[in-house]
């Protein structure tokens, strides 16, 4: 049994009045200034985008020019290798069919392959003929590219 129980009462004279008026946040810029700032930042950013676009365009042009400059070289290299391979095919055919009677290299039992075009014109061999004498892996590596593009 405790002493007189203490109660949580308001202080003598009541509470002080509560200040419940609104205290709006302090604003440093008004709407017009903010919009002007937004405009300035956007304008500067647009200018920086212009610089970036110029740089990207210059780099693209340089890459394209380099590729275009090198392309005749690469095409010539490819053509040389192509002709060398065709020569190797012809030599291999000559070696294989040396003992067959009446076989002329580059014809089919003496008959021309392309009948309606003059015999001086060179037609590219089909891929099966081009890779006929090598390992089959060479054919399978290149078949998709040749046949479907």
């Amino acid at each position: 049994m405790a002493a007189t129980p203490t109660q949580d009462l308001p202080p003598k004279g009541g509470y002080a009045p509560v200040n419940f008026t609104r205290i709006p946040a302090r604003s440093y810029f008004n709407g017009y200034q903010l919009f002007a700032g937004f405009g300035v930042v956007s304008a500067v950013a647009c200018y920086m985008y212009y610089k970036t676009y110029s740089l990207v365009r210059r780099e693209d042009i340089e890459m394209r020019s380099g590729r275009l400059a090198v392309e005749p070289l690469l095409l010539a290299e490819r053509d040389r290798e192509f002709l060398k391979q065709i020569r190797r095919n012809r030599d291999e055919e000559a070696r294989l069919m040396a003992n067959v009677e009446g076989w002329e290299v580059g014809t089919y039992h003496g008959e021309r392959i392309y009948k309606t075009i003059p015999s001086e014109r060179f037609i590219d061999p089909v891929i099966n003929e081009y890779f006929a004498h090598g390992p089959s892996k060479a054919y399978t590596d290149n078949a998709f590219f040749s046949l479907f593009s």
């Binding site: 956007s42 500067v44 985008y49 212009y50 970036t52 676009y53 740089l55």
Partner: protein
């Protein structure tokens, strides 16, 4: 051919490592969210399980995956079961578009792929709600679908503006074009609209009608117990992480090969959670008005503005 197979293997392994890191990140983002929400609400989040609650995700995972997987009798069980898997699949699939210099696939059309995944994500929510055969789920999922497709439009138009600026559909171009200044300075309102649309796409507060926690019982995932619920929320948090990473890629100067990129992404994920703890849910018609009457006109106007900027730059460079 061997070199092609080897490159493919390297890319697949890189992608799997990325997915593993994303899943670990998803687990800890749940903890992050609970801690941040706790501190916003002047209390601590989970801090009992490990040191500062660090093992909470693991205990959550164990609880969820050891509970019974319910099967509502009147539901359409195959698609009910399949929807959370599908949404997690999409949320993880979309991570392959990240514009790393080496390693991951280098997409020519990352942006289009991202939109395809986003569009398909709508289906998973809709079908999950319908297949549960429960009116609360159906309502939640239909509201979420309407909201998602509305905000997808402004998302698409914002990205279209940047496609015009970049001249291509690849996310790697963002890296190239932001080396002098971030795109955020060029288009601050767009970045805010993008962020709000991302919140709407991932069904986060203030757009979380899919869950609608005090209106509907639990929205479209009312009927989902342990396994499906876990997958749905892993999909959602994975989308949140991806959207924060995408925001950094598009607006804050992307270069995934730098540490600052990930710090910025984490800051964005923090902002996602901060928004959840701070803002109330919008009324549904206000949400729709926001999408169609506020975001869409601004996006379209910025599209025209950027077309003008690009044309001007093109003309000046000739």
């Amino acid at each position: 051919m061997e070199s092609n197979c080897f490159v493919l293997l390297v890319e697949v392994v890189n992608y799997l490592v990325l997915i593993i890191c994303v899943l670990v990140g998803v687990a800890f983002v749940t903890l992050l969210e609970r801690k941040i929400l706790g501190y916003i609400q002047i209390r601590k989040g989970p801090n009992k399980v490990g040191y500062m609650g660090l093992f909470q995700p693991f205990s959550d995972a164990v609880k969820l995956f050891s509970k019974e997987q319910t099967m509502p009798i009147m539901s359409n069980f195959i698609i009910y079961y399949f929807c959370p898997i599908f949404s997690l699949f999409l949320s993880l699939l979309v991570w392959s578009v990240l514009p790393y210099d080496v390693g991951l696939v280098s997409f020519n059309m990352s942006i289009l792929f991202f939109f395809c995944c986003l569009g398909m994500g709508v289906y998973s929510v809709m079908v999950a709600g319908w297949a549960s055969n429960c009116k609360y789920s159906l309502l939640g999922s239909l509201r979420s679908v309407a909201q998602t497709i509305s905000y997808e439009v402004s998302l698409a138009l914002i990205l279209l503006s940047f496609i015009v600026l970049l001249g291509g559909f690849s996310l790697e171009l963002f890296n190239k074009y932001q080396n002098y200044i971030w795109f955020m300075f060029l288009s601050l309102p767009l970045s805010l609209i993008w962020f709000a649309s991302c919140l709407a796409e991932t069904n986060r507060t203030p757009f979380d009608f899919a869950e609608g926690e005090s209106e509907l019982v639990s929205g479209f995932n009312t009927e989902y117990s342990s396994g499906g619920f876990a997958l749905i929320f892993m999909a959602e948090y994975s989308s949140i992480l991806f959207m924060s990473v995408l925001f950094v890629v598009v607006f804050l100067g992307s270069n995934p090969c730098s540490l600052v990129f990930y710090l910025k992404s984490m800051f964005l994920a923090f902002v996602f959670v901060w928004v959840r703890g701070t803002l109330p849910r919008l009324r549904y018609d206000k949400l729709m008005y926001l999408a169609w009457k506020s975001f869409l006109p601004v996006s379209i106007n910025y599209l025209f503005f950027f077309i003008g900027v690009k044309s001007l730059c093109f003309v000046l460079n000739l």
